[in-house]
């Protein structure tokens, strides 16, 4: 019986005037590999950041690993973040530090006090970090400065840093959006492999439908801050795939025009009905 590790209920997030997330409901079980699919500005990053307590919801509930994230503060919040790995689009390594030290910063949640310099980390952790570097195929780069590596290599270092946390969940925010196609393939394959080996739960945001279909076990689509799709990828027919393109991957400007039109047309109807347009694009 799989138990949910992530439970999001009726999540709203408002930045000043714009609603970034609106009534999001999401349950993810242990070991699932889920893709958050949507255009930029659809709320994927904001949703991911809520799962790691990097944003606080305007309203609603976010439960991760049995903890109500918005209620956590200080040490307990840091402990939860330690159990959740996060991979960023721009890698976010410290450019002037060595690759190995960047990986070691993944262990900070388990250490007390500040660390600067390789000598300040215990040998046990150094060996573990080197092991993770070996896992991502970059053992030989351990003592180079992080900014001497290519983008794909830097993202693999960032993955090693996340593994250093020994996480139960891995969140990845557009991990290959800044990479060339070849490195993208390598990095995505690596994440999947590692997740399968360690039984990790993965939530990865992407904006390419074909990549999402090929890579994820389940696709959750977002548009304008709302959940518009939630489907397993296995056994999808061509029509369903086209529908996904229609629901998720329509240019924003076009969408806005259609949405205002719909809003005008259905001003008397219930607000929920202002959602689709999938039929039009699907046909």
């Amino acid at each position: 019986m799989p138990s949910p590790v992530i439970e999001v209920r009726d999540l709203d997030k408002r930045f000043d005037r714009t609603l970034a997330l609106q009534g999001v409901e999401l349950t993810i079980d242990r070991g699932e590999i889920v893709v958050l699919l949507g255009l930029s500005g659809s709320g994927k990053s904001t949703l991911l950041r809520h799962l790691d307590g990097l944003e606080t919801p305007t309203s609603g509930s976010v439960r991760v690993l049995g903890e109500e994230v918005p209620r956590l503060r200080g040490r307990r919040l840091r402990a939860l973040r330690g159990r959740v790995g996060f991979v960023f689009q721009q890698f976010e390594l410290v450019p002037s530090l060595t690759v190995l030290e960047n990986v070691l910063t993944g262990s900070l949640a388990r250490l007390r006090g500040p660390r600067l310099g390789l000598w300040s980390y215990p040998r046990r952790l150094k060996l573990a970090a080197l092991g993770h570097l070996d896992r991502v195929g970059l053992l030989d780069r351990a003592y180079q400065r992080a900014d001497t590596l290519s983008g794909g290599q830097q993202q693999r270092v960032a993955i090693a840093r996340a593994l250093m946390q020994e996480p139960e969940i891995l969140l990845a925010d557009e991990p290959v959006a800044s990479l060339d196609p070849e490195s993208s393939e390598q990095v995505m394959a690596l994440i999947r492999e590692i997740a399968m080996d360690a039984g990790l739960t993965v939530v990865c945001s992407l904006h390419q439908v074909d990549l999402a279909l090929a890579w994820g076990d389940r696709i959750v689509g977002l548009r304008g801050g709302r959940l518009v799709l939630d489907t397993p990828t296995e056994g999808l027919g061509k029509a369903e795939v086209m529908e996904i393109y229609g629901r998720v991957a329509t240019a924003t400007a076009e969408l806005e025009a259609i949405e205002t039109e719909l809003a005008d047309a259905s001003s008397e109807a219930s607000p929920e009905r202002a959602e689709p347009l999938a039929e039009g694009a699907g046909r």
């Binding site: 840091r78 960023f88 976010e92 390594l93 949640a109 500040p114 600067l116 840093r161």
Partner: protein, 554 residues
Amino acid sequence: MTALAPAPHAATAASVAERAPKHRPSPERIAAGLTLAALVVASLFALNSLGISLPSMLESWSNAERFFTRVGSISFPEPLELVQLTALTLGIVVTGTLFAAICSVPIAYLAASNTTPGPGWRAAARFITVFTRALPDVVLAMVFVLLFSLGSLPGILAIGIHSIGMISKLFADAIEQIDEGPRRAVRAAGGSKLQEFTSGILPQVLPSWVATVLHRNDINLRGSVVLGYVGVAGLGLEMSHAFKSLNYSLGLGVAIVMFALCVLMEIISSAVRRAMLHGGRASGGPLAATTVEAAARRPWTGSRVRTTVWGWVTAALLIGAIAVCNIQWGDLVTVWAKIPPVAAQFWPPSFGAYDWTRMSGAMLETIAIALAAAVLTLLASIVIGSFAARNVAPNPGTRAGARFLLVGIRGVPEVILAIVLIVITGLGAQAGTLALAFGGIGLAGKLIADSLEEVKGGPERAITATGASRFQRYAAATLPQGAPAIIGHSFYLLDTNIRAATILGIVGGGGIGYYLLNAGQGSNYGVVTAIVLMILVTVLAVEGLAMWMRRVFR
């Protein structure tokens, strides 16, 4: 037909003049423009009132000739004594700068907009920054000499506390410019605030911080000579004693040593800054090791050896500097008991034997020195700075020559130059003004040259295309685009000149500094407080004015 022809033309001309929109700048700009004009007029009056003119300069030249025939040769202290004094001076300066750097870290953290825990903290940190910078180190030294009587602590603390202002300001600026990504990554991995700072922020700001500290160390060494006049041990004290006992040949000898020391320090610190900027990226190739166990031993590559060696050398130099000072650590404990009685001597502020007109006159003289020096500096540095700009200089050789000249002038410590000029020409305020004006050219010329090089090239090309001459292009396209930056630099110059001009009085350069030194030596500490308050108000007013001008003319 011919008679009618001019009529429509005239009518159109009149209507164009009527239809043209009236040029109406904002009231704030008008006020700022008027202030600027008033300052220019005031500077010309200042030049006049200080008696700076060609004949007086020629006179000072003959004064100098007479001085040298009277003094004869220049002499130096005994070699052993010279080494000890030099070591002590360097030790006090380096330890003071180090103290300021350490104190500045938490203050910068609280003052930077992206790390401050709240607006209250930020305001408090900003206050410390502005206040410590406005408080002259000489005044601090005066107070600390009373508290600690002997030893190196007065100098260290005076330099240290005064330097916190500039260092923490620049540290905070560096923090505000970081890439937030790595810091967010540390937070996402569950790092604490302190870990976010050490692992996410510190590695990014370290090169800039080290450059700031080295720069401040140069400034402190240049300024340390004045601290000798109020009793801080080292070369400055030796020099002031020599001049006071009319031993000019020894005094000039010490000044030359100090001069050489400043130039040497400048060369070393700029070499270190360059090495850090360019050498920092060096990185070894891939590791030969294939197992994790083997990889755990980091290989001794060239860059690792270099980093380690320089790290130990730096640590040794810092420990040496602290050791040379022979700090009486016990004084730091016992001093607290002395603070209330000493503080009582400084309160209430009063003018003592002097009256208000005399004091305000002296303060005005200080302001006049600063203004006159600023206007002289600007005239010279607009000329030299223009020739040092790539887009203005007629050929690369001229540019290189002008740049070299500016670097050379920047190496000259102006306070020491002022002391020497005042001593050999016997003219207080004039000599001080000239030294200040000369010293300012180095930085102002460089800033102006850089600003002129940053202007947009398009308008220049457009003016050239109309068939304008080189000089016309400079006047029509280059200078107008660079003007806002030049105004900003001018106020920065005025700001630093006001601070420097108060110090000049202490070494005989006229103005309020003279009364400050007198009051301190005569133990009229109420007068010291009153003068310090006047200086603080003036410095803060000029700083406020400078900020306003930079904002309006951006």
